[in-house]
Amino acid sequence: MNNEPLIFEHSRPGRVNRAQSAHFAGDLDGIPENMRRKQPPALPEVSELDAVRHYTRLSQRNFSIDTHFYPLGSCTMKYNPRACNTLASLPGFLGRHPQQREADSQGILACLWELQEMLREVTGMTAVSLTPMAGAQGEFAGVAMIRAYHDARGDHQRSEILVPDAAHGTNPATATMCGYTVREIPTDAQGDVDVEALKAAVGPNTAGIMLTNPSTLGVFERRIHEIARIVHEAGGLLYYDGANLNAILGKVKPGDMGFDVIHMNLHKTFSTPHGGGGPGAGPVGVSERLRPFLPIPVVGREDDGSYRWLDERDLPQTIGRLSAHIGNTGILLRAYIYALLLGREGMTRIADFATLNANYLMVKLREAGFDLALPERRATHEFIVTLKRQAKEPGVTAMDVAKRLLDYGFHAPTTYFPLIVPECLLIEPTETESKETLDAFVEAMAAIQAEAEKDVETLKGAPYSLPVRRLDDVKAARELDLRWQAAG
């Protein structure tokens, strides 16, 4: 009784949802036969009730922040205030065509301009462009600006981007897309960038380095000043992956750490929804020397207080456009609303309580018998538990624990990332979760540990209480089934 058929299985030929397609009188006059479609696409033919019921039921098969604690490390799954959704959905915003005149767009431009300014302030950068549509596109914009900078100086030999081995996969992938080769820098035993290795790696080929700070290991890169000096002295620039900005809002500004360019993940730090995969927004901030290269459009303010789009005429050295319009405007609005709600004090409190929660949870899990990847370090907003020991004996993997947590009503932490820590769980509780929730999570982890000691198989079979048991990834990749097809 657990099964929800595919929407196509609800479909019946000739079933028409008339409220949505009743009274049109259009024909295709003027379109030659040979340009027309012969067979209609096999979209589902269902009633409105079928559709609503099916997708309501499907929704209930998801864990989400609104239903579960979701400590997915690196993803900052904090509460998404509902006001951000409601207000960003005001008809005045939703109904606006992107080509509406600037004179008729001063309301939305004001919001975006204020957001730009606020992001400048929290990051300590000189200028911001809102246009990138996610973190990875922000990274692309950033590295493309680094490239444009070197190119503009005629410095064409710089072909390498340095990336710590703990970095998020988007970092090396981005460098490649920008035409760079990637050189990995190892991490030392304390979780910091191995500075000796870095020194050995930099040189005249170094275009720049991409750093996340706090790093993906959940610790603050303490020698950041030294790293900045080394790279800058070699003529490279510093890229800041802002995915972990939540941990340091109001505490340190990337601009002060010496970064030249940074992206932010508004769908993390500024609590815009993840939507089951997106959309997000990845604004970029730059120091003065990269300002000419910002992706367009950027919102400008005139002396008379009116706003307008800046484009290639204003920024002739721009790296160009990254989207057909201005990017994920609706997401930017949500971030703007969030920032207004929190304000200056609220921003700093984010870092305070995200850090408090992470450190508390870390201590409690250690007390419960779990090994920390970096036991000597403070947690930032997240930290890593490693199950290396348990994987040997009794043979329980990070995956097993993750799946079993689902049965206990908790979304699993991030597993197997960063790649350099074996059997790891990257745990990020965020500031919006309460002490009781953290305590309940610790209890669940302890209970799972006890189960593992008694009978590993219980964990291997998990989950038990969800619509499906553990799914076979290998089969999925081997016997590709990527779409439904009518039988016969």
Partner: protein, 452 residues
């Protein structure tokens, strides 16, 4: 504290457990000289009431003209159920479905989405979305370069009738990888790529991009172009309007073999105009090319009990596994928008979508008729079109648009900025949401403006 649940007692107990006296102590690994002074540039926090009033004022400030602009973003009717379901917390506040068992809702929905997009484009597979139509085209180009093993040239034929912004975005994104975008001009009378003008010996071409309909609303000879490209070893990338796909021949059926890749802007499928985003890009291809796909792909599989279930698959293509060798750096995509699109397509069904397409077509035709009855207004191109039309005006389009705006009408898009050669030209569109009365209102406003 907004959105922070900690009571003083909680904080005290937690600090004690950690063994520090103050929250500040938790930041002791940050070099003191780096500590930020303050965030004085930010406003004070305000409560939801105050922020609501401020946002309502902002939203009310802008005009809401009657819209006749298209150019890649279309005002369609969106059934109420689409967003009432899409904004449910379980969709809205979930992450990428990494834990498949706890994300069967999103995963099954995306599998259904992939099926629908593959159906619309008549190609074999679809991914689970890219950022928007423009970046989808960029990814399609990169994919073609990877996928066309026979071509060494990294040379893409890019018609000028492709959306100018898309071309700009492709340029931004692919320029670092040694790829050449070679512009193809359009026929002056048809606004389309005239197959006879294509070179007989084009040399090593990696791929040809075919927009359908193109930026001017004109329909391309997709069959002939596709066959020409394939004959010369090039892959074919269709950039298509998904609404059009309900009635216009889809890429998978172009020419002898069909296009290899189809991409485009998903906005018409239930996504509000929203000042330009978030929308979503879609990308479909032949089974052969699936391993070159960027982005998330969902596959069906079985669980321990043999029950059907859905997972992220072919992850070895992606940045989190393959890192610098990934097919793309994309990670976060436009998930929630595909949720809305899936609901939209489900609620419309094949008939509903075809009716929308036909009505848009009829409305734009009726609009063109009315406007071209005005002295000095003529169609720019003689060519079968879908849903959008380029017109020649007797006065500069920007001037005319300004005057129309005073009358509450967003009259379309000025073409002269992107195509100076076309003279005073305007791109107009009337979707199914425009009534007869709306068309009349536009015509009489334009008449007034031009006779002023």
């Amino acid at each position: 504290m907004p959105f922070i649940p900690h009571t003083e007692a909680d904080v005290a107990a937690m600090l004690e457990a950690i063994g520090v006296a103050h929250i500040e102590d938790l930041f002791d690994e940050i070099p003191p000289e780096l500590r930020a002074g303050s965030l004085d540039g930010l406003p004070e926090g305000r409560d939801e009431l105050a922020v609501s009033q401020q946002l309502r004022a902002h939203a009310a400030r802008d005009a809401q003209p009657l819209c006749f602009a298209g150019g890649g973003a279309y005002e369609h009717h969106i059934p109420a159920a689409v967003w009432e379901i899409t904004s449910r917390g379980e969709y809205y506040s979930a992450y990428t479905p990494y834990q498949a068992e706890a994300s069967q809702g999103t995963l099954q929905l995306l599998y259904e989405f992939q099926t629908m997009m593959a159906e619309l484009t008549a190609l074999e597979v679809s991914n689970a979305s890219l950022y928007d139509g423009a970046t989808a085209l960029a990814e399609a180009v990169l994919m073609a370069v990877r996928g066309n093993r026979k071509s060494k040239a990294r040379r893409i034929l890019m018609p000028r009738s492709v959306h100018p912004r898309y071309r700009a975005v492709v340029e931004t994104i692919v320029r670092h990888q040694g790829i050449t975008l070679e512009l193809l001009d359009f026929d002056a009378s048809g606004g389309h790529i005239a197959p006879p003008t294509l070179p007989a010996e084009p040399g090593d071409v990696t791929a040809l991009v075919i927009p359908q309909p193109n930026y001017f609303g004109a329909l391309e000879d997709a069959d002939a172009l596709t066959d020409w490209a394939h004959a010369h070893g090039a892959l074919v990338i269709g950039v298509v309007n998904p609404t059009a796909m309900a009635v216009i021949a889809p890429p998978g059926e172009w020419g002898e073999q069909g296009a290899d890749i189809a991409c485009g802007e998903g906005q018409p499928l239930g996504i509000p105009l929203a000042s330009g985003g978030p929308y979503f890009g879609f990308l479909c291809c032949t089974q052969k090319l699936v391993r070159q796909m960027p982005g998330r792909i969902i596959g069906a599989t079985e669980d321990l009990d043999g029950q059907r279930g859905y997972v992220l698959t072919l992850q070895a293509r992606e940045q989190h596994i393959r890192r610098s060798k990934a097919t793309s750096n994309i990670c976060t995509n436009q998930g929630l928008m595909t949720t809305a699109a899936t609901l939209y397509m489900t609620l419309m069904g094949p008939q509903g979508l075809a009716r929308v397409a036909a009505q848009c077509h009829a409305n734009t035709r009726a609009l063109v008729e009315r406007l071209c009855a005005i002295d000095g207004v003529t169609p720019l191109f003689e060519r079968p079109r879908f849903h959008e039309a380029a017109l020649r005006l007797p006065r500069p389009a920007l001037e005319v648009l300004d005057a129309l705006a005073e009358r509450g009408i967003l009259g379309g898009i000025d073409l002269s900025a992107d195509y100076p050669g076309l003279g005073d030209a305007l791109l107009v569109c009337a979707t199914e949401t425009r009534s007869e009365a709306d068309l009349d209102a536009y015509a009489s406003a334009l008449r007034e403006v031009l006779s002023a």
